[in-house]
């Protein structure tokens, strides 16, 4: 039998907490998103090479649009794939 001292909480108290999302471009003052830098753009793309939604990346609308155009441009220049599996 576990003693009462070991039982602190009946459920994990950290489960319900939301981590605050933020726009990294606003936070770090990045004004221009380079389409020639595929390593950076890889952060905003899922395993299949699709652009991740704002709901997940936390970008503000202004910069989400810029990210999307940058990804499209770098796809055109074959720096990023249009479709793949296991990109990451």
């Amino acid at each position: 039998m576990a003693s009462r001292d070991d039982i602190k909480f009946l459920s994990n108290p950290n489960i319900g907490q939301k981590r605050q999302k933020y726009c990294r471009f606003r936070k770090f003052g990045i004004k221009y998103i380079d389409y020639k830098d595929p390593d950076f753009l890889l952060q905003f793309v899922n395993e299949q090479g699709k652009v991740l939604p704002r709901r997940i990346t936390g970008n503000s609308l202004k910069y989400q649009r810029k990210v999307a155009t940058a990804v499209k441009r770098s796809r055109h220049l074959a720096m990023m794939p249009y479709v793949t599996d296991l990109l990451k």
């Binding site: 001292d5 770090f28 221009y32 441009r73």
Partner: protein, 166 residues
């Protein structure tokens, strides 16, 4: 005065001189029309993300230039289209942030800044993590140990009593 940037991929099958000549033709073409070339970036041979014309790699070139009018872009793109040595190209007009970004990149600020940021954030996080548990953990754990069992016990102790009373 508008700033533009044209990136194109040259066929890697050509010899080194021919590749350089290809890039040089467009630099000459632009200067002839009256543009000022800001920078020619040779990004070198890179692997393509997907095959283009059955080629899996290409030589990337990026020419940044500024011109008074945008009329020359049509001619430039037409000649790029017609050129068999060029596999793919993209012309982009740069805003003031883009110009600044390219300038900083040339001076080597961007790469180092990013690394510093990453390093700083990486180094900062562990420090915070290290500090946080040291300072908070003993404080947190102590009251939790003292209070939590009491809280758990209290309702358990009270509940049966209430039931018994009823």
């Amino acid at each position: 005065m508008k700033n533009y940037e044209v990136t194109f991929i040259v066929d890697p099958v050509l010899s080194g001189d021919e590749i350089k000549a290809t890039a040089q033709t467009y630099v000459d073409h632009l200067t002839k029309v009256g543009c000022t070339i800001v920078h020619v970036d040779e990004m070198g041979l890179q692997q393509l993300a997907y095959p283009i014309n059955k080629r899996t790699s290409g030589v990337y070139y990026c020419i940044e230039f500024s011109s008074e009018t945008g009329e020359l872009i049509g001619n430039l793109e037409l000649s790029l289209y017609r050129d068999e040595r060029v596999m793919r190209f993209l012309t982009v007009s740069l805003d003031k942030f883009g110009v600044k970004y390219n300038k900083d990149k040339r001076e080597g600020k961007i790469g180092s800044v990013k690394k510093k940021e990453k390093k700083a954030s990486k180094s900062a996080r562990p420090q915070e993590k290290e500090r946080a548990p040291k300072s908070e953990a003993p404080v947190k754990e102590a009251p939790v140990k003292a209070e939590a069992p009491a809280k758990v016990e209290a309702p358990v102790a009270e509940a049966p009593k209430a039931e018994e009373e009823e």
